[in-house]
């Protein structure tokens, strides 16, 4: 009888303490799939006035460590922005792109901008509507993907809002182009 009296609450206590089962661990699997390790912000424009255009550019790389496997880490890079309203701009030389020089495919001439920032994120505010080319270039200081780069052309609408987060893959190739991913969030 004594044993029963003690056993019942003990069992209940154990059951209660075990009732919170893990069903949503967010430790990623050991695979380099961006979807599994990155969650885009639901509203990256929180608090930005309605009548204002913003282009938020953020740069990250996929990193790896023995505790967390793959994860997304902000990384300082060179961020360059060119107006390209009447041009078709491309990057042919990453060293020149770092200096703000792209090539207009139509005229085969160099187009220079001084809109160059070194940061892991920047927001361009109130740019005129039109086409712009945005490039992000990894630094040459780290071993991983030195000067790997990516670019994306966007068309800014009046009061348009754009969240552009470029995440370079873990195996980004040195001085090589990598497609822009994940997808741009636009409002």
């Amino acid at each position: 009888m004594k044993v029963k009296l003690l056993l019942l609450p003990s069992v209940l206590a154990i059951l209660l303490s075990c009732s919170k089962r893990v069903n949503d661990p967010f430790i990623p699997e050991e695979k380099n799939q961006l979807d599994s390790i990155y969650q885009a912000p639901k509203d990256p424009f929180l608090g930005i006035p309605e009548k204002m255009s913003v282009v938020h550019v953020q740069t990250s790389i996929v990193n790896y460590n023995q505790w967390q496997n793959f994860f997304v880490s902000p990384e300082k890079m060179t961020i360059v922005m060119w107006p390209s309203h009447d041009k078709t701009l491309v990057i042919k030389d990453v060293d020149k792109a770092i200096q703000g020089i792209a090539i207009d495919k139509e005229s085969n001439t160099e187009v220079k901008t001084d809109n160059i920032t070194i940061a892991s994120g920047i927001t361009f505010q109130d740019y005129y509507p039109g086409k712009y080319l945005i490039a992000v270039i990894m630094s040459d200081e780290k071993g991983q993907g030195k000067k790997a780069y990516s670019s994306k052309e966007i068309t800014i609408k009046e009061y348009g809002k754009y969240y552009m987060h470029k995440i370079f893959s873990f195996d980004a190739k040195e001085r090589e182009f990598e497609e822009w991913s994940p997808k741009i969030i636009e409002k």
């Binding site: 004594k2 009296l5 003690l6 609450p9 003990s10 209940l12 206590a13 154990i14 209660l16 303490s17 075990c18 919170k20 089962r21 893990v22 661990p25 967010f26 430790i27 912000p41 639901k42 509203d43 990256p44 929180l46 608090g47 930005i48 006035p49 204002m52 913003v54 990193n63 460590n65 505790w67 967390q68 994860f71 880490s73 902000p74 107006p83 309203h85 001084d114 809109n115 920032t117 940061a119 994120g121 920047i122 927001t123 361009f124 505010q125 109130d126 740019y127 005129y128 039109g130 712009y132």
Partner: protein, 382 residues
């Protein structure tokens, strides 16, 4: 023999044991560590409870795990405030049954609020006349009031870097070299600056030169962007002279209105230039219904491509039933049409002559049909 008091005592003791077990399971386990950390700085967090097999799995949201040693972890929080910040540390561990075996996996979360500043947008004049010299003030406007900053760093392309404790920045503009301003905020307790906002300054070019030319004209443009001449095919050519000067040259006797265009940051600024004597475009009724006997009806004529400084001289050819209301000069005239009681329309012309510094144009005719009055009813006004 168990007395009633002894039984009650046992029940109480059992309940105390039960509650203490619950408290130990539910309340006794915590993740200790800084709840309001700075971003980009290493912090240590520890889990206070046991785990079967000493198994601990740590994970983090909006941060990075630097190192882990069983129930202790070193983390670095990211410097971003998107969506109010979702910084969270989670430890996953195994509970232990009373018999010493694994009771299954569970987890505990610790929410933190990182001391980072809000984003700040910049307000102030974005377009500045190219010849402006003087002071301009720019203000940093908070985006997320949950994360106020107490100091601000302002930078410009001209090499200015200054810190202010109020969200405003004064700059003395002495030329047109200021192209952009950035601002970032900082909280009172952490050294890290927040997100950077970049604001471009655009100088509106100032065009100096003639509005009309007969052979060629020299134009000086203060704060020019990329300069081009638009609508100029077969009419004029553009030559860069250097030192912010350009020459527009008329081709032969061609006439027209061309646009000298400056493009900066994707925005265009233009100056219209009249070459020679462009053919005027007359706007007015081409069919008029005359009024009934005893009435007079007025109709207006205008020029849609008026030339500044030009003189216009009108005449009416082909009818004595029409006269000008108040003169026949200027780009805008009104005619008075008297009654026409015949049965058929008659055709006449508004005739125009334009005189500019380049000379006088040929006559430009505009055909007008005047219909007879309709049954005593006044025609509708056009």
């Amino acid at each position: 023999m168990v007395t009633k008091n002894n039984r009650e005592m046992r029940i109480k003791l059992t309940l105390i044991l039960f509650l203490s077990l619950l408290l130990n399971r539910v309340i006794g386990q915590v993740i200790s560590g800084e709840a309001n950390p700075c971003p980009e700085t290493n912090y240590t967090y520890s889990f206070s409870g046991p785990s079967f097999g000493n198994y601990f799995l740590w994970s983090i949201t909006d941060g990075q795990i630097i190192s882990q040693n069983s129930n202790t972890v070193v983390v670095k929080w990211y410097n971003k405030v998107t969506e109010n910040g979702k910084w969270k540390l989670r430890v996953q561990y195994e509970t232990i049954k009373f018999d010493g075996t694994s009771g299954g996996s569970t987890y505990l979360d610790k929410d933190v609020k990182v001391n980072i500043p809000s984003r700040y947008i910049i307000t102030g004049d974005r377009e500045i006349p190219g010849d402006f010299r003087g002071n301009k003030t720019y203000t940093a406007q908070i985006v997320n009031s949950n994360f106020p900053a107490t100091s601000f760093i302002w930078t410009t392309n001209t090499g200015i870097q200054t810190t202010t404790t109020t969200p405003s920045f004064n700059i003395n503009i002495t030329d047109d070299q200021l192209k952009w301003i950035t601002v970032a905020g900082k909280s009172s307790t952490c050294p890290q600056w927040g997100e950077i906002f970049k604001f471009d300054i655009v100088y509106t070019p100032i065009f100096t030169g003639p509005s009309s030319i007969c052979s060629e004209g020299i134009y000086t443009i203060t704060s020019p962007g990329t300069i081009s001449l638009e609508n100029a095919s077969g009419i004029a050519t553009l030559t860069a002279l250097g030192n912010n000067q350009w020459k527009v040259t008329r081709i032969g006797t061609a006439s027209g209105i061309v646009k000298l265009r400056s493009t900066s940051n994707g925005k265009t600024f233009e100056k219209d230039i009249v070459l020679g004597i462009p053919r005027p475009i007359i706007v007015g009724p081409s069919v008029i219904t005359a009024p009934i006997t005893g009435k007079v009806q007025d109709y207006s004529f205008d020029i849609s491509n008026r030339i500044p400084g030009a003189t216009y001289e009108w005449s009416f050819v082909g009818s004595s039933n029409v006269e000008f209301q108040s003169g026949s000069t200027g780009p805008y005239v009104v005619i008075l049409v008297k009654s026409h009681t015949g049965t058929a329309s008659y055709f006449c012309k508004m005739r125009l002559k334009v005189t500019t510094e380049c000379g006088t144009s040929d006559f430009i005719d505009y055909n007008v049909e005047i219909k007879p009055a309709q049954g005593g009813v006044l025609p509708p006004e056009l």
